[in-house]
């Protein structure tokens, strides 16, 4: 039977799964939504511009409407007044969608450990790829997009049912003590707990 078909159509037919086909298409046409709030945004612009040329990787079509995008790139620090906006924009993006957290500030608050700056957007929205650096070089952002494409191709499904299983928050839980102090204590350094800030 198979040889019969082979004789008739030759190499013109490929067999694959629907999931793989959909993921292949999605991975190679990411539409980023630039959520650029600070200096990392400049590097994001540089990534999309002609020198680094993000379009070589099929995701240069930046759209400023979340309803036309499927990849949110959070580039910069997010303050507590901005976070509800970020969440709203994330909810406005159609499924399936992904998120890249670009730079130290978006990943962890960076050096801005103050009352107003959210200590990592992954506490409040799901994040797929983290890019370290302050700011990350365009090459790093390109690498993160290639990694995301691999992630989509390896695990994506045509109806995005892989997301339905992820019902738990993905970021760090609320902590009552400085994370760094706990890590140091685990490694044998004893530090006084911060007395000025019991609630954190």
């Amino acid at each position: 039977m198979a040889t019969e078909i082979n004789k008739t159509v030759g190499d013109n037919v490929f067999l694959t799964t629907l999931d793989a086909a959909a993921s292949w298409a999605r991975a190679n046409s990411l539409w980023p939504m630039p959520f650029a709030t600070a200096c990392c945004g400049i590097e994001l612009m540089s990534t999309a511009a002609s020198r680094h040329d993000l379009s070589r990787f099929g995701s240069e079509v930046m759209r400023f409407s979340p309803r036309q995008c499927d990849l949110m790139i959070v580039a910069g620090r997010v303050v507590m007044k901005m976070l509800p906006v970020l969440q709203r924009i994330w909810l406005q993006m159609p499924e399936p969608k992904w998120c890249i957290s670009m730079g130290a500030c978006a990943c962890s608050g960076g050096v801005f450990d103050t009352y107003a700056v959210v200590q990592g957007i992954d506490r409040f929205i799901p994040v797929d790829v983290y890019v370290p650096g302050c700011p990350p070089r365009p090459e790093q952002l390109i690498r993160s997009i290639i990694d995301l494409q691999e992630k989509i191709q390896s695990g994506g499904t045509y109806n995005a049912r892989e997301f339905k299983l992820r019902i738990l928050p993905e970021g760090p839980q609320r902590f009552d003590e400085d994370e760094l102090i706990r890590i140091r204590e685990r490694n044998g350094f004893k530090l006084d707990p911060p007395t000025y800030d019991p609630v954190h």
Binding site: Q87, W90, V117, F124, P126, I167, P169, Y196, D197, V199
Partner: protein, 173 residues
């Protein structure tokens, strides 16, 4: 030589301002060519009006200092008005002291309308209330914010405001 000119200018400024508001006790001082005057909070508005009358037509900035545990300061808050006479380039620093619980002073918006956002920012960060302001609410922080973060008794990492948001999981979004 410069000293004498400076001091005579200052003396001139002192007499001009005191002449406009007789009976108000003004404490003058100079530091590195900057003229500063401390005004009792009760007389603030009349002194501000008088300084506009004698030529200080621009309000450069309003700010505040929290003097909690600062040196041997006796008052808690110091509200600072920075004034500029555009024609003569004279500058004047006008200060007034406030203590809890009465943190209300008159708004300067009737004198310089540019005081609008400056006063809202001072309220946002220190909780000083400017009576008579046309649109008195927080300027930078969210309206539901409870504290005044530039006060010295507010922890630099906040009181948990930055973690007080709903968490969106993958399945919900």
């Amino acid at each position: 030589m410069t000293n004498t000119t400076a001091s005579s200018d200052v003396g001139d400024l002192q007499s001009r301002l005191s002449g406009e508001v007789p009976g108000v006790s003004l404490a003058w001082s100079t530091y590195q060519d900057q003229t500063r005057v401390v005004v009792p909070a009760a007389d603030l508005l009349s002194v501000l009006q008088a300084s506009k009358k004698i030529g200080f037509d621009q309000l450069t900035d309003i700010t505040c200092v929290d003097l909690l545990e600062y040196g041997n300061a006796t008052d808690r808050f110091e509200v600072v008005y920075l004034l500029l006479n555009i024609e003569t380039s004279e500058r004047l620093t006008l200060k007034t002291y406030l203590n809890e619980p009465d943190l209300t002073i008159p708004s300067a918006t009737s004198v310089w309308f540019g005081a609008d956002w400056l006063e809202r920012e001072v309220y946002d960060m220190y909780g000083i209330i400017f009576a008579g302001h046309p649109n008195f609410k927080r300027l930078l922080l969210p309206q539901e914010f409870q504290s005044f973060p530039l006060r010295k008794d507010y922890p630099v990492k906040g009181r948990g405001e930055r973690h007080n948001f709903p968490v969106i999981t993958r399945a919900e979004s």
